[in-house]
């Protein structure tokens, strides 16, 4: 006991007495070891730092191209790109925003998870005026729905770039061989899953080790049952959302139905996402509810075997008869870029984003990456493959796009929700209990936020 007290006493003593000298020492000591290795910013130029999660090909090269074009046109600006591993990025950017020199431009997932909480915290610059300059020339480059995801109380805080959506992927060959038809409604899907089970295959591949893939099911079901607006109203912890609509429990119940009829592989919570992909393209699973990010891996040049490249197709998730929501709605979210509120180089940062979202640069990005860039005119017949073209058409035809719960829910609420979905997959909890926990967490968050803003 005495040792504990002594130790704590000494900790405090060190803090009180030792702060000043210790800081001096820190400045000297580590440089002894690694002084000449610090990266020196080039002098005389403005250096913009840009943090992204585009750490893999082909996006990395595409971004490098955008940057080098920009630097050629603006010789006084240097753009320093810092690529991050996506999971790690969530940590790194939060820590950076808590520090004193965050990057000038950084990647965000739209929605509550990143953008909204950053905006609330005052970490992101308002670029409404830039978008509206010259009669709104910049604003008009973006589809209104995508840009809308970057608006908050009538102000715009960033620009969308890539739209990702989830679709029901299916194995055309297996469907043809067994005479199955693509499910149009929820009962169709349930019946189909039972049929697929009967021939000994996995109906829907799912790898939920990373916690979020499975939540796409109750998420789309909630939208089909309640409608995108009703769902989205629930998310904002500062708003009236309480998750009290019975549609939330119902959507989890329907998801449990899928679990109960054996629609998924064994122990999906232990399946890595790459393994889920392998289950699908090896023909062990007939369907796969995944996002457009898997296009490249399953198409020509991807990791799937060549025989599979043309053997699959994708459709929107089935409609739920009697649901109040828009049944043709797509689930997805536009990733984008924002400017830091603390950036001393705001003008240069905006200039870079304008360059990046020019039609010319966007078209090049599409050509290289085959992804749906959210700039009007970026995807054309000559630079898009058939799947991207189909995707583009579906987006244009969709009544609206609704974002996933994991990007829209307040992060700690989302964690509770996704953990609940994991437990449902194991049959360890009930939909009611999950929503009860979600509601409780949401009200705690609201109290915390109110207390903080009240002070």
């Amino acid at each position: 006991m005495r040792a504990i007290i002594l130790t704590f006493g000494a900790l405090v003593a060190i803090l009180l007495g030792g702060c000043q000298p210790s800081q001096e020492a820190q400045q000297q000591a580590p440089t002894k070891g690694a002084g000449p290795l610090v990266s020196q910013p080039s002098t005389g130029k403005t250096t913009l730092s840009l943090w992204t999660i585009w750490n893999a090909e082909p996006r990395q090269t595409a971004l490098a191209q955008i940057v080098s074009d920009f630097e050629a046109a603006n010789p006084d600006i240097h753009v320093q790109v810092v690529p991050h591993e996506p999971d790690a990025y969530k940590t790194a950017i939060r820590v950076a925003l808590g520090g004193s020199q965050p990057p000038d431009i950084f990647f965000v997932w739209s929605g509550e998870k990143m953008l909204h909480s950053f905006v609330r915290g005052g970490a992101v610059a308002d670029i409404t005026a830039d978008l509206d300059a010259d009669g709104g020339a910049w604003r008009q480059r973006f589809p209104a729905a995508s840009l809308g995801m970057y608006q908050f109380d009538g102000k715009t805080y960033g620009v969308p770039y890539l739209l990702q959506c989830t679709f029901l992927f299916y194995n055309k060959e297996l469907f043809a061989r067994h005479g199955w038809t693509v499910p149009k409604t929820w009962p169709d899907l349930l019946a189909l899953c039972k049929k697929i089970r009967k021939v000994g295959l996995i109906p829907i591949s799912l790898g939920n080790l990373q916690k979020w893939p499975a939540h796409h099911f109750p998420c789309v079901l909630a939208q089909r049952l309640m409608g995108a607006d009703a769902v989205e109203r629930q998310y904002d912890p500062t708003g009236p959302g309480t998750y009290s609509d019975p549609g939330w429990v119902k959507s989890l119940d329907m998801f449990r139905e899928l679990v109960d009829i054996g629609a998924f592989p064994k122990s999906p919570n232990g399946v890595d996402r790459s393994a889920a992909r392998v289950l699908f393209y090896s023909g062990k699973a007939a369907m796969f509810y995944t996002g457009t990010w898997d296009f490249a891996r399953l198409s020509k040049g991807g990791e799937a075997p060549e025989s599979f490249w043309e053997a699959w197709d994708f459709v929107n998730f089935p409609a739920v008869p009697g649901g109040k929501g828009e049944q043709g709605c797509l689930e997805g979210s536009p990733d984008g870029y924002v400017v830091s509120a603390q950036s001393p180089n705001r003008a240069a940062a905006v200039k870079f984003l304008q360059h990046m979202t020019s039609v010319e640069q966007a078209q090049r990005f599409v050509t290289r990456c085959q992804e749906l860039v959210q700039v009007r005119g970026a995807v054309m017949e000559k630079n898009a493959g058939p799947r991207l073209a189909k995707y583009m058409k579906m987006v244009e035809a969709a009544p609206r796009i609704s974002a996933w719960a994991d990007t829209m829910m307040e992060e700690s609420v989302a964690q509770v929700y996704m953990a609940g979905v994991q437990e449902l997959l194991e049959g360890r909890t009930t939909p009611k209990a999950v929503m009860e926990r979600v509601r409780q967490r949401q009200s705690e968050v609201r109290r915390e936020l109110q207390a903080r803003s009240g002070s």
């Binding site: 750490n55 808590g98 990373q210 075997p305 994991q422």
Partner: protein, 627 residues
């Protein structure tokens, strides 16, 4: 009579302070200050993004106590400690006893057991995620191949199994390391002690229990402390393998804290968890310091009685377990009793046969048994190495067959992805931090061992208390601090690396220096040496084994450190290996083949070094670890 130029042996307090100062500065700046900062923050509600903090008193602690996941995490950390000690210590001891010779085949076997430890933790986690995969994974496939498909489980996907699956991997990875430490302790026992015991007619079994183990008690305690420390702080492996899932089933304190801080942005709450971790670990430190202070007792007297009772109780509980589940379970209970009897009987038989077996056949039996065990150990490593030339679907669809197509391109891709760069960076960062930490800790160890530092006991206790400080607890303060000082990349991480390594290094070096006869340094001092020269030219050369030991400890954690590097190293050119390996995962993909190729490339040189230098490492560890 004392000549006027001769300095007093104990030195003035200003010299002593000067020697202790660098360590104190590092400690205060990078350990104490951030920790105190964290303690203060645990009484606030704040978000990293919003800089306003609201004082909330004990609300964070109240929330913690009403959070069921907190108790799940506590239980899991407890399981981690108990199982890690219970599995690793006996196994490591067995390996150390069996493979302690300088024979070439033992050198090879030791290298094989050591191999998992060389793999970066991140790589180990990613690799086992695939091995444990419930539908296509190598483990379930292997069970099916040997006709035990009913043993197949969902592993990481089952709430009841997940934490045990992670603990198993942790044991697999660390057993080799603990084997090395115990081996060192074993070798420090003079050979004549064993000869004397043999002359007195003691059997092998008796010698083991009455001579060898009691003489190893200190190294066993050090080892138990290391395992406990590692288990309280366990983070990376859980984070990479399950991230606390399914649900919250495999949550540990560090993942809970990390998620609260960096995912959910509840900084105050996270700080409260960090403080609890601190308190838990402080208790262990105090207990440890108590135990090691008892110099003359062979064992703390309760240990042997306690362990006998523990084993008996565990056996009884195992036999009685079916009774708790349902009451008509007599056949199961009888079955378990019979099984227990068989195990005990065969163990007894084994010991007795072992006693009487002539030397040669005994050696053959022993080496064969260890070789088989080594094969089992090296299997996952081999699987990973083979994985480096396979495609991901090959890896999952036919986990135990030779690759259909050999994808040598993975190595080129790993190299092009900068694995060589990461490797060099990690080597350099490790070398810097080990070198600097050694210099700093040697100075202060000398001060604490030989000089009169004002308030020495207090300062020493303080630094040593830092042994168990989790780095994660001070991530945010360290980050903020490094931004204020304009430190990024290596300068930002090396400071904390040195500081967090200091406690253990100072503790061990001080103990060793204190044990070197004072006559030696006194003679040097009388001859006109300053303390500086006494330390560097007289004492440290004698203490070389201890220096090697602490250098290895320091190197092994710096080599694997993830969270600080993740947050503080900004530029890719300066990035270190653990983060670099993560970088091979894209937003929605992981290039398994390339990751495995990267792992192979990094593992090969280190294993080769280990194989060549292990004799030095073994004899180096000897003195250091036992003191």
């Amino acid at each position: 009579m004392r000549a006027p130029w001769c300095r007093p042996v104990l030195g003035t307090s200003s010299t002593a302070l000067l020697f202790a100062l660098p360590a104190l500065i590092f400690f205060a700046g990078f350990v104490a200050y951030p920790i105190v900062h964290t303690c203060v923050l645990s009484f606030f509600s704040w978000s990293a993004v919003q800089s306003t903090a609201l004082p909330v008193g004990l609300a964070n602690y109240r929330a913690l106590l009403s959070d069921p996941h907190f108790f799940v995490a506590l239980r899991n950390n407890g399981l981690f400690i108990v199982l890690s000690v219970a599995v690793q210590m006996p196994l490591a001891l067995l390996l150390a006893l069996g493979l302690g010779s300088a024979l070439r085949r033992h050198r090879l076997l030791r290298t094989l057991f050591f191999a998992p430890f060389v793999l970066p933790i991140v790589a180990v986690g990613l690799m086992w995620r695939l091995i444990y995969e419930p539908n296509l994974g190598a483990l379930n496939a292997l069970l099916e191949m040997v006709g035990r498909s009913h043993w197949a489980r969902g592993w990481l996907g089952e709430s009841e199994v997940a934490i045990f699956a992670v603990i198993a991997v942790s044991c697999w990875r660390y057993v080799g390391f603990h084997m090395m430490i115990l081996l060192a302790g074993l070798q420090s026992i003079p050979a004549d002690v064993h000869e004397a015991a043999a002359l007195d007619g003691a059997g092998k079994w008796q010698t083991l229990w009455q001579v060898t183990l009691p003489m190893m008690r200190r190294v066993l305690l050090v080892d138990a402390l290391l395992i406990t420390v590692g288990s309280v702080r366990i983070f990376d492996l859980v984070k990479v393998m399950t991230d606390g899932g399914p649900g919250y089933a495999s949550e540990v304190l560090a993942t809970l804290m990390f998620r609260a801080a960096f995912v959910e942005d509840r900084m105050g709450y996270s700080a409260a968890i960090a403080v609890v971790m601190l308190l838990v670990t402080l208790v262990f430190t105090v207990v440890y310091l108590r135990l090691t202070r008892v110099e003359d007792v062979v064992w703390p007297p309760w240990v042997s009685r306690f362990s006998v009772w523990a084993v008996l109780l565990a056996a009884a509980a195992w036999v009685a377990w079916p009774m708790l589940l349902d009451d008509g379970a007599w056949p199961a209970i009888v079955g378990r009793m019979v099984a227990l009897g068989l195990i005990a009987g065969s163990a007894w038989l084994l010991v007795h046969v072992w006693e009487r077996l002539p030397r040669r056949p005994a050696a053959v039996v022993r080496d064969t048994a260890f070789a088989l065990l080594a094969v089992l150990f090296i299997l996952p490593v081999g699987w990973a190495v083979l994985g480096s030339v396979r495609t991901v679907n090959d890896l999952l669809l036919a986990p135990w067959r030779l690759p259909e197509t050999w994808v040598w391109g993975n190595f080129a891709a790993a190299w092009a992805g900068g694995i060589g760069r990461y490797l060099m960076n990690s080597l350099a960062v490790t070398a810097f931090s080990v070198g600097l930490a050694l210099a700093v800790s040697a100075l202060s160890a000398y001060a604490f061992a030989r000089l009169r530092v004002p308030g020495g006991l207090l300062l020493f206790g303080l630094i040593v208390g830092g042994i168990l400080m989790p780095v994660h607890a001070s991530l945010i303060p360290l980050y903020v601090q490094s931004r204020h000082l304009h430190l990024v990349n290596w300068p930002a991480i090396i400071g904390p690396y040195v500081a967090f390594g200091l406690p253990l290094m100072v503790l061990m070096l001080r103990a060793y220096l204190a044990d070197i006869p004072t006559e030696l340094s006194d003679a040097a001092l009388i001859d006109g040496c300053g303390h500086w020269r006494v330390l560097w030219q007289v004492l440290l050369p004698i203490a070389r084994p201890a220096v090697a030991a602490v250098a290895i400890f320091q190197a092994s954690w710096v080599w694997n450190e993830l969270p600080l590097a993740l947050v503080l190293v900004r530029d890719r050119v300066w990035q270190v290996l653990p983060v670099g390996l993560l970088n091979f995962q894209g937003e929605h993909s992981a290039d398994w083949g390339v990751i495995m190729a990267g792992v192979t490339l990094t593992m090969a040189p280190i294993l080769a070094l280990y194989f060549l230098f292990q004799r030095h490492i073994v004899s180096g560890l000897t003195a250091g670890a036992v003191r």
